[in-house]
């Protein structure tokens, strides 16, 4: 097991300990995996009321165009992501991917147009590499800054809006993927209506010095419960969302990962700014030619969870390989095991029966539509 002494702490570390969190190593940080209530209750509370997550380990990066024109930063970033950044309106956020020359995925991220700069949120394990990639890839056109003076929390679930409205009423006017600046308890925060649980909710970037105080005050609300990485993982899996390093990595392309929706028309073949990002030849060809394998949802027929790494077969004897599970576990809201993974193109249709190898047995699973729970975003 990874030692705990050299691990980094988020600005909320002391707060986690005071709440009785069980801490584990994650992406170089010591992070709460669960609090006293446990993964199951934290998960269900997020779906029923509001869960509060510390996601300060993630990287917050600013790209500021030297020209002062946001269009220049957008066009520079479009050289690294297959995403329509130029068309991203002020105060709007969009999911994106860094790709490599082979069409693989280097990281997934959120991109926000903040009028005079772009604001990025990237995965903790990738953030140093992403920062170097940006500095090298944007040339001399932009200043790239890693923000180490801000915490990031997520407030997710159906009660997130009413809770936040008590501090800032205008939050009710925000749509999914809107980003605004507002004072919460007199602290200037950047609030986006987004998250990674499948629920309506918000991510809030807070200056480090005030992060524990603002978070503590949110936790005092009776609808809000602290939620750790354990439930964050089961929530995102139910929502059919990829975890970088599990479901997507440098060996998977956006089309294999069923992430075509993250590549807008303007960047696809025939679009006004088609291609021009790493791996474009392969990725754009896959839109027309398809891929030999694809990410799908999987529902084990029984009660036994099927975990990431389990091999999938066409037959119940484990003779004809069909793919592999990349994430799997128990979905508390669906009250049963759920998984996702990659299967050969011939087996991607919903309803296809496959078999997963678990402890030497071949358990029947059914290819199923994602997400496993209905998303409740306020579009």
């Amino acid at each position: 097991m990874e030692g705990i002494s050299h691990l980094k702490h988020t600005p909320l570390h002391a707060l986690h300990l005071s709440l009785g969190a069980r801490m584990v190593p994650f992406a170089g940080y010591e992070m709460p995996v669960q609090y006293l209530e446990g993964v199951l209750k934290e998960h269900l509370h997020t779906r029923a009321a509001a869960g509060l997550f510390d996601v300060s380990h993630m990287g917050q990066i600013i790209i500021r165009p030297k020209s002062g024109r946001i269009e220049d930063a957008a066009l520079a970033l479009e050289k690294l992501v297959p995403v329509d950044v130029l068309g991203l309106a002020e105060g709007r956020q969009r999911y994106g991917l860094f790709t490599n020359a082979e069409g693989g995925i280097l990281d997934d991220l959120m991109i926000t147009n903040r009028r005079d700069h772009l604001f990025l949120v990237v995965n903790a394990a990738c953030k140093d590499a992403d920062f170097e990639h940006l500095k090298n890839g944007l040339g001399g056109t932009c200043e790239v800054t890693m923000l180490d003076d801000r915490a990031l929390i997520a407030l997710q679930g159906p009660r997130a809006e009413p809770v936040l409205c008590e501090l800032w009423a205008d939050v009710a006017g925000m749509r999914f993927m809107d980003v605004a600046e507002a004072d919460l308890h007199d602290v200037a925060c950047i609030i986006s209506r987004s998250g990674y649980t499948g629920e309506d909710g918000f991510e809030i970037s807070i200056p480090v010095g005030s992060a524990a105080d603002v978070t503590q005050r949110l936790l005092e609300h009776p609808d809000v419960m602290p939620v750790g990485l354990g439930a964050r993982d089961s929530l995102r899996l139910e929502a059919g969302l990829c975890l970088y390093g599990n479901d997507i990595d440098t060996g998977t392309t956006p089309v294999e990962a069923a992430l075509e929706w993250a590549i807008q028309k303007s960047r696809r073949a025939g679009g006004e700014r088609a291609g021009g990002f790493p791996g474009a030849d392969r990725i754009l060809a896959e839109f027309t030619d398809g891929t030999s394998r694809r990410r799908v949802g999987l529902r084990p027929d029984g009660r036994a969870p099927v975990r990431g790494g389990a091999k999938l077969f066409v037959d119940a004897e484990g003779k004809a390989p069909a793919g592999a599970v990349t994430s799997g576990g128990f979905g508390p809201s669906v009250d049963g095991p759920i998984a996702m993974g990659y299967v050969d193109a011939a087996h991607t249709e919903n309803g296809t029966k496959l078999f997963a190898e678990v402890r030497g047995k071949y358990l029947p699973v059914t290819v199923s539509a994602l997400p496993f729970v209905k998303q409740t975003y306020k579009r």
Binding site: V39, D233, R307, F330
Partner: protein, 120 residues
């Protein structure tokens, strides 16, 4: 006689039969259990073999056979309701009854005081 293993199983030994479960400490560490897989009655195991599997929301863990023996009874109640292992691990949520090949081998296991010291 109550005995314990370093792998966090408890054994209640009556004659040559041991009722086996996982300790309160283990149940707490595992978190909310959602699935239990028990051995079949009649199966024989050696000490240290994986005899059962428990799964939490997050991960699967083995439950080891604490001594050599044969499974003579399993507790279907924890298969039907895995949460019972969290709520009553050292009572109603026993896993299986083991007919011991050599009851005297239990003497080498930890007693309650030694186990409490181990997990303190």
């Amino acid at each position: 006689m109550l005995k314990f293993t370093e792998e966090h199983e408890w054994l209640k030994i009556e004659g040559d039969v041991a009722t086996v479960g996982i300790t309160e400490h283990a149940a707490g560490q595992l978190g909310d259990l959602v699935f239990v897989e028990l051995p079949e009655t009649g199966a024989s195991f050696s000490k240290g073999d994986s005899a059962a599997t428990v799964e939490s929301v997050k991960a699967a863990s083995d439950v080891y056979c604490p001594l050599d023996g044969e499974i003579i009874e399993i507790n279907q109640a924890i298969v039907d309701d895995p949460a019972l292992v969290n709520s009553d691990p050292q009572g109603a949520a026993w896993f299986f009854k083991l007919k011991l090949a050599d009851p005297s081998a239990a003497n080498a296991l930890l007693d309650e005081a030694a186990y409490k010291e181990l997990v303190a």
